[in-house]
Amino acid sequence: MRSSNESGQAYAFMAMTPIVQGEESDLRSYLEGIPRSSSPLAKLPRTHFARWVILEEFHHEAGQRRREQLKSQYLIFTSNFDGPLDSYLDELGEQLVEEAGEIWGRCYGCPRPAAGAPLKDYLLHNQIDTGLFFAAYADATVERVVASLDQRERMIDFAVETQGLTPNELQRRFRQEFCP
């Protein structure tokens, strides 16, 4: 049976791990210092969108009788990727060896080294199931989305460049561009 973490072939993963007291600031600096242009998450080519968020505390809203006071700050990792989860976490454990120690290595219970099957088990242990997952193009993999976007750009260029060509030349150019 399909889980509430899935929509089409897409999977919504979320893990919430407690940050070791005193490590919060260093973890935040590390994450905020990662350039978006060279994100380690690019090493996981099935990832559409992902993020790391640090939860310091819950905001207290009017009507709540008692304040929710967390004993730790939490690192929340979410990823929207092409399933299944099992092999995705295998890839994460293999590809993010360098970064995982800097990230989850600052959390309670993280294996040393933060890699491979122990890291996968750790993330699964801290997984929080999604209640409702919406994916606008749930059956399209990252590979297909990227290829389709590239093809659309080429199609736009082609349509502009081939205006006024003879039928023979138009067909020749079309075959060259789109029927390799």
């Binding site: 801290n126 999604t130 079309f174 075959r175």
Partner: protein, 158 residues
């Protein structure tokens, strides 16, 4: 959680009409898993976690969300403390700002593509495959006519 499952979006849902959302999720955090060495945590409340991956500006996003998904949002957030209803939008935006957590690191595999561009590209991909299958081997004159008809058909995707 039952309510969230009941609200599973279908292709005709208002969520689909929010044409700038790539992926979104609602998660109820009822308990926090325990790890060795961690001070034991016991939540007093269940917390609703909402994540949205969208393109465009924050203000426009909330405005559209409030106006299109008005009833759905009341169902989703109606049981949360402090929820002011989606309309008018000003108190709702204040509520979101109070509860929003900024990402320390965010990744997108195609950061320059809007959701509309992705949908158009995927739609075009299917139509182009069908066009190639039927038109590549036509006589040039016929191909040229078919090409013009094809461009008319896919102009919304370009």
């Amino acid at each position: 959680m039952f309510l969230l499952r009941r609200l599973r979006p279908d292709p005709n849902s208002p969520l689909v009409r929010l044409s700038f959302i790539h992926f979104a999720r609602w998660t109820v955090v009822k308990r926090i898993p325990h790890n060795e060495g961690q001070p034991r945590e016991k939540l007093r409340y269940k917390h609703l976690f909402f994540e949205s991956n969208f393109n465009g500006g924050w203000e426009e996003y909330i405005d559209a969300f409030s106006h299109i998904l008005t009833a759905g949002m009341t169902k989703l957030w109606g049981s949360s403390y402090g929820f002011p209803k989606p309309l008018p939008t000003a108190p709702f935006k204040d509520y979101i700002r109070r509860n929003e957590i900024e990402a320390s690191h965010f990744y997108s595999a195609y950061p320059d593509a809007t959701k509309s561009m992705v949908s158009a590209a995927l739609d075009l991909d299917q139509k182009l495959a069908a066009f190639k299958a039927r038109a590549c081997d036509l006589e040039p004159e016929q191909f040229s006519r078919e090409w013009r008809a094809f461009l008319t058909d896919v102009q919304a995707d370009l």
